[in-house]
Amino acid sequence: MGIIKTDKLVFEYIRRDEEGNVEGITRAVDEVDLDIAQGDFVAILGHNGSGKSTLAKHINAILYPTEGTVWVDGMDTQDEKQLWDIRQEAGMVFQNPDNQIIGQVVEEDVGFGPENMGVPTEEIWQRVEESLKAVGMYEFRKYSPNKLSGGQKQRVSIAGVIAMHPKCIILDEPTAMLDPNGRREVIRAVRALNDVEGITIVLITHYMEEIIHADKVFVMDQGRIAMQGTPREIFSQVEKLKGLRLDVPQVTLLAYELQKSGVALPDGILTVEELVKELSAVYHRG
């Protein structure tokens, strides 16, 4: 069993009108089976309302399944006794950094999680230092969070999660509110955590370029998993993705358009380097 596993996960919620009468039932997640191995970098794509955030909230027991089961590191999320262990092992980072930062000083904010877990004071400081170094924010440890840019704040949020020593981090659109530089910083930090620390990453995003290095991509639609595969397998299916209200990275789209105009290129080009290499070959063949 992987670090995160779901078996026929279903989540339904009841819609009510203003008087509280039941209007209907919406099935937000519909029989999803996931099995994510420790150390994987997994991306979840899907249009607004496809169920990806609802799915993510099951992984650290913010929501419980209506039917089916979710296990985190072998622990059933419906087992209340293990709730705090699950939340410590699977940390979550949300879209808006301003809603996640509570400390007056960066290092206090990062220490909040381990402090609540009852970690001894000396170790808290050690963890704060390691976590801030892991996201490249150590030099800002004495700053007030409101003096930081969006990308920096989001990296502090991530450090706050790392300080709890999770095995897995779920990031729900962590770059949606950031400028290009902030997006680069956050994605670089997340990739380093995966590569260097071996932390399992589940990244939800609407920016296709951010996930070209993922080990596996899941695409959700109407609460179900509509596509899964490597980034190359997924991004080779341009029309299908567009049908699901998604897109491909610009470089992939340009390659696809050139293919349609008769230029011989392989499917699913993901990086600028790949496209340049292939096009140069075509050009020099004449």
């Binding site: 899907g46 249009h47 607004n48 309302g49 496809s50 879209q95 840019s149 969006g150 990308g151 659109e173 949606a176 509110m177 950031l178 400028d179 290009p180 530089n181 902030g182 997006r183 680069r184 609407h206 296709m208 370029e209 567009k242 209200r245 998604l246 897109d247 990275p249 610009q250 470089v251 789209l253 340009l254 358009e257 050139l258 105009s261 008769g262 230029v263 600028v272 380097e273 496209l275 340049v276 096009l279 140069s280 075509v282 050009y283 020099h284």
Partner: protein, 283 residues
Amino acid sequence: MSIILDHVDYVYGGDTALAVHALRDVNLVIPDGQFIGLIGHTGSGKSTLVQHLNGLLKPTGGNIYFNGEDIHAQDYDKKKLRSKVGLVFQYPEHQLFETDVFSDVCFGPKNLGLPRQEVELCAYAALKQVGLEDEYFYQSPFDLSGGQKRRVAIAGVLAMKPDVLILDEPTAGLDPRGRDEILDQIARLKEETGITVILVSHSMEDVAKYVERIIVMNRGSVLYDDTPVEVFKHYKKLEEVGLAAPQVTYIMQALYRNGMPVRTDATTIEEARREILRVLGRQ
């Protein structure tokens, strides 16, 4: 008919030790009917700048003129200015509050004191302009999807019939199709009505695709003010100030360095496609 910013300065907390110079000597002319992209890193002064355009903030130095009149003159009608220069904030759907979509959109024109029939006509036209179907008009705005809610919020501003529409990151958090739909709709609106549009965005790809002029802010000053092609030629400098060029710009630069004689100033997929096909002799 235009907005003119003349040596505009803005300092926060002026008399304290924490004074921040948010705008420094900004000079801009925004004529009617342009589609303008406003870009800059977080904290570069974009939002401060747009809040000056409809008089929400008052410059600590310099003047702002709308259609030739100083908007901070004593007898200037600010309320009218705010109906003429419509500002759609980030995540505008958080400001929806009425029980149904139509009432929510009526709120703006109603507050302008228009007669009821005219209010409703304005609201109807605005909802049509953002492409919302009639079937949603009497639903609660909270039952709509993210993209639909955002359209309703934009319609709420359009219902006041502004001459200038300012959108602060209108596509943040939307899926790719949702982003295209909103921006296509705005582009069409601009074509049909001739309204001036100022788009604040962190997506260089979107800016390159839609706008005719880009204003780049850095540390409270205007760094560049030119066409997308000219602005993105400075891609190295843009990176230094926390921005980037669209991915196609990097592709063209790399192709050129690898010995393909392409022009490197393409900023959209379509321009890049045509240029590559030209060099490959396929057209």
